[in-house]
Each structure stands twice: as structure tokens, then as C-alpha cells.
């Protein structure tokens, strides 16, 4: 419970100075113990990678690959962070990514070129979010159930559209995004999109009324309601936002894979929830940071990469991820109780 508390907490100060520090200091003010410890974990992982595979891990191409892989799930996780902070859950993110990616890569859609694919991916994502949001906010369905139903239906619809086939993308503009030629100063465009979503997500959460309402609704819905906040509308918007993030992620995935498949986004919901939890988002709502979630994503992606480079199989990766989730939550409970 420290990330919103910026200056030193001397409760007795007679007149705490008005917050006049430059904006960049406010950014680092969020860098509390938890964020620092996440950075520490990431540093240790980089160290392990560098020691075990000195040539291949620290290679520029490999680092570009890690960041690219983190981009798709990272964008989903930013949306998920808002959902969890509001006291909800979105189990349908992986299925929405799949549905968006196949709908946006049908032959008919590809006729409209780059814009058609981007537009369709985003609209399908937002549309699914709308259904989730309406069911949860106005149909008073439990988020777990509503998004579970969406998971099942969206995956089914994605299968129906593709009939299980891989839909190869032929639009050059989209494919170019993942090509080395289009890297900006060595940074892949997909990573730039991820960075932009992260920055915008941070700004929305920390600098806008939308972010404040999200925190209020998640922290104490009854208090939010009695304070005059439209709790239901806010819930609707949050699931729309999650759907939007899924749509963007689907577009990134299309560019990365050069195709759309109904098996895309498999188990993204678990990865996104796990990354947010590791990043310090309280599953019951009201607390969390975008920076923490993004660090959670980077930690997971880095582990996957190091394991792959060391020829360790997915089963070991899964076990390690599970252990990290448990360790992270235990550490957080420890730090929470000492504050």
C-alpha cells in the first residue's frame, strides 16, 4: 500500500509542501519497494541469461525478440490490469484475441488492406468487451461467469470462421511491421506499440478521472456509489477497454505471425492475470500499477526466453512460472503486513 504515496510519510509535518516536483520525479515516486524488487528480479534474470548463454542471450536480435514476444501479451495485460483493479476479472482475453485475429484475416477483410485488418481487429475486440461489460455492469452477472461464457463463445466463433485453417495474410503493409527493415532505431514497431499502450495506460490510470473512478470502484464500490460515481457505467467502460487492448494485441499478433488462427492467444488470460498479480495488482481490486504489470510480463517473457535458449522444455517453464507466482504473492503479503 505505498505506490500512491509519493512524499515521505511524516504524518506530523505541519505543512507538507505542495507537490512541485518535476513530472519525472513523480514517475519514479511510483518506484516503491515492490517495483524495485521486480526490477531486481528482472536484473537477476538478465544476469542468469547472460551467464548461461553469454553469446545468444545478450545478442541484439534476441533482445528484440524478447521484447516483441512481450508486446502482444503486454498489451493484453495493460487492459487486464484495469479490469482487476476495478474488482473484476476477464477470462475471455485470449479468446477475444483469437476471434479478432481470425475475423481480421478473412479473405473479405484482407481486401480492405491494412486499414481493414486494423479496423476489424479493434472493432471485434471492443465489441466483445461491450458484450462482457453490458452483461456484467447492467446484467449484474459475475465477471468470472460472463467472461467465461465469452471465452467459450469467442473461441467457438473463431473456429467456425476459420474451420481450423490458418488464414495467411497477404497484405504487405501488415507483414512489413515485423520486418527488420521497419525497425525504428533498432526497435521493432510492435514494441513501440506496446510502449505506447503502456504509457497511455499509465497516464489514464494515474492522471485521469477514468483512472480515479477505476480505483474507487475497485477499492470500495459502495463508497464509490455513495460518492456519486456511476459505478455501472465505469464497469462497462473498463471491459470495453480490455476488449480494445485485445483488439490491438490481435493486430500485433497478425503482423508477427503473418496469419490468423483460431488457436491464437491460447491461455493469454492466465498469463495476463499472473503478470498483473506478480506486478502487485490486488485481485480484490483497488490497488495496482501499470509499471508493475508490465514488469511482470517482461519477467515471464525473459524466463521463457532463457529456458528456450538453454533447451529446457515448456513443462519446466510452466513449473517455474507457477513457483514465481506463489513466491511473488508471498513476498507481497509480507511487505503488505509490515506497512
Amino acid at each position: 500500500m505505498t505506490q500512491h504515496v509519493s512524499p515521505p510519510r511524516d504524518g506530523t509535518s505541519k505543512a507538507a509542501p505542495v507537490d512541485t516536483r518535476p513530472a519525472w520525479k513523480n514517475l519514479t515516486a511510483g518506484a516503491d519497494v515492490r517495483t524495485l524488487s521486480l526490477l531486481g528480479v528482472l536484473a537477476v534474470l538478465v544476469l542468469i541469461g547472460g551467464i548461461t548463454q553469454p553469446d545468444s542471450f545478450l545478442d541484439t536480435r534476441n533482445l528484440q525478440l524478447v521484447l516483441t514476444q512481450a508486446s502482444v501479451i503486454g498489451v493484453v495485460t495493460v487492459g487486464m490490469t484495469f479490469v482487476i483493479m476495478s474488482g473484476g476479472i476477464d477470462l475471455s482475453v485470449g479468446a477475444i484475441v483469437a476471434l479478432s485475429s481470425v475475423w481480421a484475416t478473412t479473405v473479405a477483410t484482407q481486401d480492405f488492406g491494412f486499414a481493414g485488418i486494423l479496423f476489424t481487429a479493434v472493432v471485434v475486440g471492443v465489441g466483445c468487451g461491450l458484450v462482457n461489460g453490458v452483461l456484467i455492469a447492467y446484467g449484474t452477472m459475475v465477471p468470472f461467469i460472463a467472461t467465461l461464457a465469452m471465452l467459450a463463445s469467442a473461441r467457438g466463433l473463431a473456429l467456425q470462421i476459420t474451420d481450423g485453417r490458418t488464414q495467411v495474410v497477404t497484405v504487405p503493409g501488415v507483414l512489413d511491421l515485423a520486418e527488420r527493415d521497419s525497425y525504428v532505431l533498432g526497435i521493432p514497431p510492435l514494441v513501440l506499440v506496446f510502449a505506447a499502450v503502456t504509457v497511455i495506460g499509465w497516464l489514464v490510470l494515474n492522471r485521469t478521472t477514468f483512472g480515479r473512478r477505476t480505483v474507487a470502484v475497485g477499492g470500495n464500490p459502495e463508497a464509490a456509489r455513495l460518492a456519486g460515481i456511476d459505478v455501472r457505467r465505469q464497469r462497462l467502460y473498463i471491459y470495453l477497454l480490455s476488449g480494445l487492448c485485445c483488439g490491438i494485441a490481435a493486430f500485433l499478433l497478425i503482423a508477427l505471425a503473418g496469419s490468423g488462427q483460431n488457436t491464437n492467444g491460447n491461455l493469454y488470460e492466465l498469463d495476463a492475470i499472473a503478470a498483473a498479480i506478480i506486478g502487485g495488482t490486488l485481485l480484490s481490486g483497488g490497488r495496482g500499477t501499470i509499471i508493475g504489470s508490465v514488469l511482470g510480463v517482461l519477467i515471464f517473457t525473459t524466463i521463457t526466453n532463457i529456458f528456450a535458449l538453454n533447451n529446457l522444455q515448456t513443462d519446466v517453464q510452466q513449473i517455474a512460472k507457477g513457483a514465481i507466482i506463489v513466491a511473488a504473492v508471498l513476498v507481497q503479503r509480507r511487505t503488505a503486513s509490515t506497512h
Binding site: H4, T209, A223, A227, I229
Partner: protein, 505 residues
């Protein structure tokens, strides 16, 4: 012959939760075979005390003697082993199990240690139910299909399935109709005849007269009276103990002519079935109107309905003569209403957030453009509001949970001040506020009224209503039984009205 030691003797029990001292040195003696009534307002400490007795809470200090020996009630199971059973108001039954399974939950009759002997459980359950006067309840039925009264009987059967010597009943009559209450009293009489002691919690004084032997009154975490004779203590004395204050408070001076303008808040025929009868009232700018009444008189319900948090069955709330959309908090807030609810932590505060964010939450549009918050302006505005109310510490980034009760209340008031609200609805404004900080809060409320706010105040503490309000409406069971300027009333008169409800003159 030395007198028999009491069955139960609790002494000097204290229990603190973060920010609250729930029990502050409570003594309680219970004799075998008596009905000992526990009285007190909400928040007086009754629930905490019975949870200590049930082993669900561990006291910070104090001793518990059971049949003359010191005991520690480490867990609910430890209490149950001694023969202490508790029937909570929120019944703790498993709805999807049968009556017999619930009664024997945790101590099922078994063969070979683990095979549940269902038939034996059903037989013994049927016997218990018969003893409790409800042979018609089928031990095989699911508890979720039973009525509230039948569920309570099941809860009692569960208590009796142990070798019980003391039963705690937390407002057992609340969910019962009169016939069922008679049956309950018959059961209580049977139990005490067998030498079982009953600790009986109720708000209904007439019940306590009927079945009680002795009364202990709790107030603000202290036993203000222990072991009074239940049948002979005058009602007025009991109520005075529950609501009165030992300390004299300094109330701010009233203006000579408060609230002379047109009413800003008018309530016309507002009704919620089962909670309060059609209600009319007006509050003028600068005026504090108080609603006095006991628990169950509909006080909080009225306030929440005026605020739109509950939907009325009939009637209107008007601000400046314009009717608000019923059942809409947002309409009420937009029209200039603000509520400081009874349960501050659960209903008003964002406990993980700073003072500033708690204060600014209802007025974000004032310092944001297109959803973008100007944090400098926010901080300035929130600080101006908290300074106006002398909120301590004067640190806008302090987490609101670190504040004292009085300062948390000031944070809620500052929220509405910042919003520019014109009608303040205060529900038990000094609940959980330290004795020393109350006078300051009274001064703040009076000053806000003097500056033109209309205030509608609800309190179970009669002296508070009389000292603070300009005009008082006395409530009894959801109806206004009297209305008068506060200076024409005194505490005894109000208590008589609250208890007996003589017609309004």
C-alpha cells in the same frame, strides 16, 4: 455456605481493532439458569463481546472464568467443548446440507470413525426438534428450503446437540413473527429450567421485561451497568444508560433565528414499506434538523432514501422545489446533496487512498478538463477544504486509514464541502469518534450550517440531537411521533416519546 461461583465471569475484557477500541474493560457475570440480557446500541460492543465468548475473537486483556476456573477460549471449538454455544443473528448454517447434517456438522455420529450414520443423525435431530417444539421440521430437508424461523430452530438444535450450559442468542427475535417469538420464549424458559444459562441480546425492551432476569448495558465498549434487575428497572433508566452520556459536551451556540429562508430540502410523503411511514420534512439553509430514535426506528433508512441510495415506494424528495429522480444517488449529488454515512469505512472512504483522493472523488470535474486531472488544482482544492475543517494531520498525501475516526469524518465532510454541496445528510456523525474530538466536530457542523448549509442529522444519541439540532423530529418505529424546536425538548421527554410514542401534538 459459600455462594456458588457464577457459571461465567468475564472481567476487564478489552479488545481493539485498528483505529477502534471495541471493548474497553467489560465485566459480565452469568449465573446458571438465568436469562441475562445484553443491551446496547449498534457499535456498543455487543457483537465483539459475544465473539470473545464464542472463542471467535481473542481478547487483548482480561480474564474469563468458567465455573470458577480461569479458561482461555482459543477457538470456537474450545468454547463449544466447555458448553458455550452461540446462535448468531446471521445464521451460520450450510444451506445445501440437510437439517440433520447441519445439526451434526463437525460431530457427526460415525461408524468406524468416518462412515456417517445418517439414520442415527436423523433420529437424534428429530428428538431435538421435538424438544424445541418444531416436530414438523423434517431432518432430511435442505436447510435452504426452510423459513427463517425454522432455520433458527435448526441453529438451536445444533447448539443443544452439544452438552450445552450457556447459549448466547444474538437478536433471535429479529426475524420472527409474534407466534414464533412466543415459542422462542417457551424454549428459553425450558432451557433455564434445566439449569442452562442464556445470554439474550435484543433491542426490544419489552422482550427483556418478559423473559430477562438481569440486564447488562453496554455503551461505547464499556459496561455502563451490570446485573440490573430486568423486570424492575424503569425503562427510562435503561434507555438513558444506552443513549446517555457520562461526559457533558460543549455544544456550539445556536443562532437566534436559524434557517428563515425557503426550504432547500423538502421531503413529501416519502415511504418505504416496512421501514418508515410517509414522511414530510423541510430543511432550510442554515438549519440543522435532527431525527431522534432508537435502533429500528428507521433513521438511517430515511436518510439513505432521501439520498437516493434506497428506492422509495412512494413520495418525493425536492431540492429548491424540484423533484429528484427517485432512487438515484447521482441525481441527489448533482442537486447538491451529500451524505456522511453511518459506516464510514464501508460506505464512504477509499481506505487504500490518500486524504486528497478521498476528498476529491466527488468533485473531480472541478479540476479536470476532458477527463484529464490537474493535480495541482486538485491538491490545492482538497487542502483548502481539509484546512477549513482543521483536519489533522495537515498532510494531503497521508493514507486516510491512518487518520483517527474524527478526522476520517472530517475527510468525508471535506469531500462534500469541495463538491459545493448545499444539503448535508449526517448519519451518526460521531460514531467511532473519540470523546475528545466530538465537540470539535459539533463546532464544525454548526459552522457549516451557519455558512448556509442545510443539515439533516440522524443520531441514536439523544443529547447529541438535542444539543446540535435546531429542530427535532422524534421517530418511533418508522413514524414521526413529535416535532419541536430542540430548545423546547429535554432528554427525558424525548426518551419517553421514543419509547412510548405519544401522539404528536
Amino acid at each position: 455456605m459459600a455462594p456458588e461461583p457464577p457459571l461465567l465471569s468475564m472481567s476487564g475484557i478489552t479488545k481493539s481493532f485498528p483505529g477502534v477500541r471495541a471493548l474497553d474493560g467489560v465485566d459480565l457475570d452469568v449465573q446458571a439458569g438465568e436469562v441475562h440480557c445484553l443491551l446496547g446500541q449498534n457499535g456498543a460492543g455487543k457483537s465483539t463481546l459475544i465473539k470473545v465468548l464464542a472463542g471467535a475473537h481473542q481478547p487483548d486483556t482480561g480474564t474469563i472464568r468458567w465455573r470458577g476456573e480461569d479458561v482461555t477460549l482459543r477457538s470456537p471449538i474450545a468454547a463449544m467443548r466447555l458448553g458455550i454455544a452461540t446462535i448468531y443473528q446471521e445464521l451460520d448454517l450450510v444451506e445445501h446440507l440437510s437439517v440433520a447434517e447441519n445439526v451434526h456438522l463437525g460431530h457427526e455420529p460415525t461408524s468406524a470413525g468416518f462412515v456417517v450414520r445418517g439414520r442415527a443423525a436423523k433420529t437424534s435431530t428429530a428428538q431435538l426438534l421435538k424438544r424445541l417444539g418444531h416436530p414438523e421440521v423434517d431432518p432430511g430437508r435442505l436447510v435452504g428450503d426452510l423459513s427463517a424461523a425454522q432455520q433458527q430452530i435448526v441453529s438451536m438444535a445444533r447448539a443443544l446437540s452439544h452438552d450445552v450450559r450457556l447459549i448466547v442468542m444474538d437478536e433471535p427475535s429479529a426475524a420472527l413473527d409474534p407466534d414464533e417469538v412466543d415459542n422462542l420464549f417457551r424454549i428459553v424458559a425450558d432451557l433455564t429450567a434445566d439449569g442452562v444459562a442464556v445470554v439474550y441480546i435484543s433491542h426490544r425492551l419489552e422482550e427483556i421485561r418478559r423473559i430477562g432476569d438481569r440486564v447488562t448495558v453496554l455503551k461505547d465498549g464499556r459496561a455502563v451497568a451490570g446485573g440490573l434487575p430486568a423486570k424492575d428497572t424503569p425503562t427510562r433508566d435503561v434507555v438513558a444508560l444506552m443513549t446517555g452520556r457520562n461526559v457533558e459536551y460543549v455544544f456550539p451556540e445556536r443562532p437566534a433565528a436559524p434557517g428563515t429562508g425557503e426550504p432547500v430540502l423538502s421531503v413529501r410523503g416519502l415511504t418505504r414499506h416496512g421501514e418508515f411511514a410517509p414522511l414530510d420534512l423541510d430543511v432550510r439553509p442554515g438549519e440543522i434538523v435532527g431525527l431522534a430514535g432508537l435502533v429500528g426506528s428507521g433513521r438511517s433508512e430515511i436518510l439513505e432514501t432521501v439520498y437516493g441510495a434506497r428506492k422509495p415506494n412512494a413520495g418525493q424528495v425536492l431540492v429548491d422545489g424540484r423533484a429528484l429522480r427517485p432512487g438515484s444517488v447521482r441525481a441527489a449529488v448533482r442537486a447538491g446533496l451529500g451524505l456522511a454515512p453511518e459506516e464510514r469505512k464501508a460506505q464512504a472512504l477509499l481506505m487504500l487512498e490518500s486524504v486528497t483522493r478521498n476528498v476529491s472523488v466527488s468533485a473531480m470535474s472541478r479540476f479536470s478538463r476532458g477527463g484529464w486531472i490537474d493535480r495541482g488544482a486538485e491538491l490545492k482544492a482538497a487542502r483548502a477544504a481539509t484546512r477549513e475543517l482543521s483536519l489533522r494531520p495537515d498532510n494531503p498525501t497521508a493514507p486516510v486509514r491512518t487518520l483517527s475516526g474524527g478526522n476520517q469524518q472530517k475527510a468525508v465532510l471535506a469531500r462534500w464541502l469541495l463538491r459545493g454541496c448545499r444539503v448535508l445528510l449526517l448519519d451518526e456523525p460521531t460514531r467511532g469518534v473519540d470523546v475528545g474530538a466530538r465537540a470539535e466536530l459539533y463546532a464544525v457542523i454548526r459552522r457549516l450550517a451557519d455558512e448556509g448549509l442545510a443539515v439533516l442529522l440522524v443520531s441514536s444519541e439523544v443529547p447529541e440531537v438535542l444539543g446540535l439540532a435546531d429542530r427535532v423530529l422524534v421517530l418511533r418505529e418508522g413514524s414521526v411521533v413529535h416535532e419541536a424546536p430542540a430548545r423546547e425538548l429535554d432528554e427525558h421527554r424525548v426518551l419517553d416519546l421514543v419509547m412510548e410514542g405519544s401522539p404528536a401534538s
